[in-house]
């Protein structure tokens, strides 16, 4: 199964693969590296040419200066609030919807799944995307919901095609005679869902929760449009504070970016197995 393309000259091929992988990894890490290095440079060192590849003096005060430039803690709280509710909505709605698309037999089920797949094309940016944002904004504006998190959170309670697909794939792997046996024992559909399928689907639900949380944390377009009161801003909008002032103090901007990116990176490193398994399950 594995090692499909390597047969005789395995070693030289491994060396080529290694060089390629190390090269690409260095390239992929370069923005992070430059962010960290810049965040620790003093103003004086920042203006030096050619740029230094490692800070000569660690300017740790950049981090306190950066958190003083914009209300870091309130925005952190807002972002956590947004991410937590998105996780809740995504897990609840997609679990129930995927259950209907995989564990119950009904005429037209597989036919109705085609629109789900097709809608991936629009919902590729979720919950707000450029194609639907203008009418959705005027819709929520009429309801008086601009400057609240509702327009960002509400859509997550109505399912997301990526997550429906992922969970459906997972639930289809659970043998159907489990549900049938429980049904014969007198369990109704909700009991089967709650007592049998839910515990078995837990690993996939963790994947959905993680991806949904990261998605909310990384959302820029949604908060940009709907949150116009700067008390409601998320961290993503907070970073724009550094850009609008006279010029950009890049060491402070990069220090702030570190603080915004760090939680996502930590979550990813801690749960990396779930992320990577989730891709092999959902991506086809």
């Amino acid at each position: 199964m594995e090692d499909t393309l390597s047969a005789p000259r395995t070693e030289s091929r491994q060396i080529v693969a290694r060089i390629f992988l190390i090269g690409t990894c260095l390239f992929y890490i370069s923005p992070m590296y430059w962010m960290l290095v810049t965040a620790l440079k003093s103003d004086k060192e920042l203006a030096r040419f050619p740029p230094t590849l490692w800070p000569q003096e660690m300017a740790w005060q950049n981090f306190t200066l950066a958190t003083g430039t914009f209300p870091f803690l309130p925005y952190l709280g807002n972002t956590i609030f947004y991410a937590a509710l998105t996780m809740l909505g995504s897990v609840l709605s997609n679990f129930v919807i995927a259950y209907g698309f995989s564990r119950i037999k009904w005429p037209g089920r597989d036919l109705l799944f085609y629109p789900v797949i097709a809608s991936i094309f629009i919902f590729i940016q979720f919950p707000v995307n450029p194609i639907t944002m203008v009418p959705m904004f005027s819709f929520f504006a009429k309801l008086g919901l601009v400057n609240s998190y509702l327009p960002l959170i509400l859509p997550t309670f109505f399912g997301n095609p990526f997550f429906i697909f992922l969970l459906r794939q997972f639930m289809l792997q659970i043998p159907s005679n489990l549900s049938e046996a429980a049904k014969i024992d007198g369990a109704n559909e909700f009991q089967i869902m709650y007592r049998i399928i839910l515990p078995l689907t837990r690993p996939a639900l963790v994947v959905v929760a993680l991806l949904a949380g990261v998605n909310a944390w990384n959302d820029f377009l949604g908060p940009l449009i709907y949150l116009q009161n700067d008390k409601l801003y998320t961290l993503s909008l907070g970073l724009t504070f550094f850009k609008t002032m006279h010029g950009i103090q890049f060491n402070l901007l990069m220090a702030a970016s570190c603080l915004v990116v760090l939680p996502v990176v930590a979550v990813f490193l801690f749960f990396q197995r779930f992320f990577i398994e989730g891709i092999s399950l959902g991506g086809r």
Binding site: E2, F121, G159, E277, S280
Partner: protein, 361 residues
Amino acid sequence: MCLVVRAGFEPWPHRIDRRLALFCDARQCNTNLCKQISSEEPPTAQADPAETVSGFRPTESMKTSRQRIISREHRGLLLGLLFISPWIVGFFLFLVYPVLSNFYLGMTQYSGFGEPEWTGFRNYEQLVRDPLFWSSLYNTFYYVTLAVPLGVVVAIALALAMNQKVREVTLYRVLLYLPSVTPVFALSMMLIWLLNPRFGLFNYLLGLLHIPAINWLGDARWSKLAIVLVAQFGAGHIGLIFLTALRAIPSNLYDAAALDGAGWWRKFWHITLPLLTPTILYDIIIGIGLGMQVFVPAYIMTGGGPLNSTMFTALYIYKNAFEYSQVGLAAAASGILFVISAALAIITFWSSKYWVNYHLE
């Protein structure tokens, strides 16, 4: 019924784990999520649930079997629709309604306040006469035609490299995937500084190779390439999807080809690539969707400039709707963007019957 009487509901998860483990073994399910379930309880020979209940005959309300099948199907339909109802509501509220509304609002003069005023095709006429709209479409196409094929090639190369028996492959996978979870807005901010003509790392490294400094974001010739570059940082994600597809190719195909004396290139060209075509199709469709809606990198890094060289259609829509209060015009542009993206996706999908190989499915 007998199971409930005998054991109650509590031991259920236990029994299910075991049965699922048997199932996973039978299917040789190779995702770790499945393995995790199967490792909780070693698979042992257990009585099939069907055997336990085979003697069970429902005594209450014995309808004729046909009646029961029909009513069961009916109940199944209602139940199924009940479970997927959130999606049906969401589909109409968050997709069908705004897409149709784009065409309605596109026919009106609307500033975002008060009532939209019907003006017919005036917005569309205005768009056709606006050179900025045309250049936004040109920029978007430029971006898609460059970013999507490049993404496919890079992702396949990454997958092939990760498929070699390299011991520390997990480390590479994590590092390559890392930019995919990094927020695009933060990545864009990092790239502003990374691509800075004087103080950025890129030009420093190019300088070591005696390549003159490039003003990436300030020069209209390079600015779109800089945005394409941002998209390439997501290739680690697609690379992993390709890796999964690579692993699914049965090795006996390669063995047979090797017996026939095929070299690495012929194996790749005649076995690997054809069997990767479903994944390539997926990647292209997703890439078109993402590319037609590209917004955040341009908004943060260039704001559409220099000389409108990164004014993509999504940015054009945003500026008109939220900065110039031209909601009707923006809706008309959104409608056009939707039609073009959908047409591209449908054409790609239609063409797939000529180049996508589904033989292993």
